[in-house]
Symmetry: C2
Subunit: 338 residues, 2 copies
C-alpha cells in the first residue's frame, strides 16, 4: 500500500510537505500543492488514519450506541440525521447496537475505547430515561431521544412529546369533536407519560369532559417484547353496545392508529366522517400508506439527529455546553384521517 513517503519521493519533496497538503495546512506553495495532489491521485495514496491516530491521539471517529434504534423502523431517522450532519465534518461514524443487552453494551464501550473514539451518541428507540454504570462518562457523550436523571450534565436532544400530544388533542377538539377516546402507548415509556398528560390537559383546558373508560391501553408488555392490542380495544370502543361512542380516537402512535383504522373499517365506519383517527410518529410506512392517509404528529427524528450532531461538534470544539435537555417540536401533519 502506497504511503506518504512514496508520494514525497514521486514529487521530490519531504514527507512533511505532503502531510501538510493532505491536512490542508496553509503554508504550501500553490504550485507544490498541485504537484503533490497530482501525485496522490496518480499513486492512489490514501492516508493511514491509524498512523495518524497513533501520533495525534485524535481518531476523528464518533460512535453511535443504540439500544434498538438501528434495527427499528422509524427511529433510524435519528441515525440518518446524525450521519448527514457528521458527513459535513471530517469525522466518520462507528455504529453499534446493544439490543438491550448490558453485556453487549460493555463490550461496545470496550471497542469504542480501543478505537479511541472521540465521542459517543447514545440513542434510544423510545423516548425514555436511561441509567449508566459509570459515575462520569468515559467520553464526550450526547443523549438522543433519552435523558438521564442521574446525569443532568449530559446534553440531550428529545422530542417535545407533551406539546405534540397536546396538539393532537387540541386539533380533534378544534374539528368539533367532543367524544374523544385515547388509546395509549406502553405506559413504561416516558413518551407515553408525556403524551398522556398532554391529552388530559388539552381536554381539560378546552372544557371537554374526559371519559376515563375511553382512555385505553393500546400496547402492553415489557419493552422489546410488547404486544399491540389496540384492535380489540378499538372494536370494543366503536362496535360495543354503549349508547355513546367516541367520534374521534387519538392514538399513542401510528401502529396503534393502524389497528384502530382496521377496526373502524371492518365495522363499516367511514373515516373521518364516522370516526376520526389521529396518530403519532408519522411513521411513513403506515401514515402514508393507509387509506385514508393518517393525520398524525410527526416525530422529528431526523432533525433530532442533526441537532445531536451540532451539539457533538460544539462539545468537541470545547464550547462548554450549557448542559441541558433540548426539546425539538413535534408538528401536527394534517392528512385525511381527521
Amino acid at each position: 500500500m502506497v504511503n506518504i513517503k512514496d508520494v514525497a519521493a514521486e514529487v521530490g519533496v519531504s514527507a512533511k510537505t505532503v502531510s501538510r497538503v493532505v491536512n490542508g495546512e496553509s503554508a504550501v506553495k500553490p504550485q507544490t500543492r498541485k504537484r503533490i495532489e497530482e501525485a496522490i491521485e496518480k499513486l492512489g495514496y490514501v492516508p493511514n488514519q491509524a498512523a495518524r491516530l497513533v501520533r495525534t491521539n485524535r481518531s476523528r471517529v464518533l460512535g453511535i450506541l443504540t439500544d434498538f434504534v438501528s434495527t427499528t423502523p422509524y427511529s433510524v431517522e435519528i441515525i440518518r440525521g446524525i450521519q448527514d450532519r457528521i458527513a459535513e465534518t471530517d469525522h466518520s461514524l462507528l455504529i453499534a447496537n446493544t439490543a438491550g443487552d448490558p453485556a453487549m453494551e460493555r463490550r461496545i464501550w470496550q471497542t469504542f475505547r480501543e478505537h479511541r473514539i472521540d465521542g459517543v451518541f447514545y440513542a434510544t428507540m423510545y423516548h425514555r430515561h436511561v441509567a449508566f454504570d459509570f459515575d462520569h462518562p468515559p467520553l464526550p457523550m450526547i443523549l438522543v431521544n433519552c435523558s438521564s436523571p442521574d446525569h443532568p450534565e449530559l446534553p440531550s436532544v428529545v422530542p417535545d412529546d407533551y406539546e405534540g400530544g397536546y396538539e393532537a388533542a387540541r386539533y380533534a377538539i378544534e374539528q368539533g369533536h367532543r367524544a374523544i377516546a385515547y388509546i395509549t402507548l406502553n405506559p413504561l415509556i416516558l413518551a407515553a407519560e408525556l403524551r398522556d398528560a398532554a391529552f388530559r390537559a388539552a381536554l381539560s383546558d378546552h372544557h371537554v369532559p374526559p371519559q376515563e373508560k375511553w382512555i385505553r391501553p393500546g400496547i402492553v408488555g415489557e419493552i422489546g417484547k410488547e404486544e399491540v392490542v389496540a384492535f380489540a380495544e378499538a372494536l370494543a370502543l366503536l362496535g360495543g353496545k354503549a349508547k355513546k361512542k367516541p367520534t374521534a380516537i387519538v392514538c399513542g402512535n401510528d401502529e396503534i392508529a393502524l389497528q384502530v383504522l382496521c377496526a373502524a373499517l371492518s365495522l363499516g365506519l367511514r373515516i373521518p366522517q364516522d370516526v376520526a383517527i389521529i396518530g403519532y410518529d408519522d411513521f411513513h410506512v403506515i401514515s402514508m400508506l393507509v387509506e385514508p392517509k393518517l393525520t398524525t404528529v410527526a416525530l422529528p427524528y431526523y432533525e433530532m439527529g442533526r441537532r445531536a450532531g451540532d451539539n457533538m461538534m460544539a462539545v468537541l470544539s470545547g464550547a462548554d455546553m450549557i448542559s441541558r435537555v433540548e426539546k425539538i417540536p413535534c408538528p401536527l401533519v394534517k392528512r385525511a384521517s381527521a
Copy 2:
C-alpha cells in the same frame, strides 16, 4: 491514557509479555498471565487498536456499505444479522449509507480505505443488480441482497424471490382460488421480475388461466421516490363493475398488501372470506399489525446477514470461495388473511 508499558512496569515485566497476554498467545506462564491480567484490570488498560494496526496492517474492522438499508425499515434486519455474526468474532463494524448518491459512495470508499478496513459488505435495500466503478474491488467484498452481473466473482447472498413468489401463488391455488389477481412491485427491481415470473409460472403449472387485466402495477416511479398506487388498483379490481372479480390478491410486497387490505375493508369485504390477501416480505410493522394478520412470504433478511458474515469470515481466512450467488429460501408464513 494508560499504555502497554505502564502495565509492564506495574508487573515488572516487558511490554512484549503484556502484548502476549493481551493477544492470547500461549507462551506465558499462568502465574505471570494472572498478574498481568490483574494489572490490566487495575490500571484500566485498553489496547490501542490504531497502534496495533500501524504495526500489523490488519484493522479488524469490517465495513457495511448500503444504499438505503440502514435507513429503511425492514432491510435493517440484514444489518442485525451481520452484526450478530460479527459479534462472535474479534472484528467491529463501520456502517455507512450512500443514500443512493455516487459522490457519497466514493467518499465512503475513501473512508474505508483510510481506516484500512479488512472487508466490505455491500448491501442494498431491494434485491437488485448493482454495478461498480472499479474493475477489481479494492477490498474483500460480499454482496448482500444484490448481485453484480459484471462481477460474477463476488460472493453474494440473495433471497430466493422466485421460489417465494411461486409459493405464494401456489398457496392461493391450493386454497381453492382460481380467480387470482397480482399487484406488482416496481418493475425496475430484480425482485419484481422474479416474483412476477414465478407467479405466472405457478398459475400455468396448475392450469389456472392467467388474466392479464388482473396483473396490475402497485408501485410506480424511480427507485428512492416511488409511489404506492395499489389502493386505487385494488379498488378498481374489487369494486368495479366487472362481472367476475378476483377472490384472491397476491401482492408484490406487504406495503401493497396494506393498501389492498384498506381497499377491501372499505368496500365492506371480509378477509379472507370475500377476498384473500397474500403479501411478501413479512414486514412486521404491517404483517403483524393489520387485522386480519397478513399471510405473507418472509424475506430472510436476518439470515442473509448472518450468511454474509459467514462468507466474509471464510474469505478473510483465505478460503477460496467457490464464488457464487447463494440463494436463501423465503418461507411462506400463514396467518389469517389468506
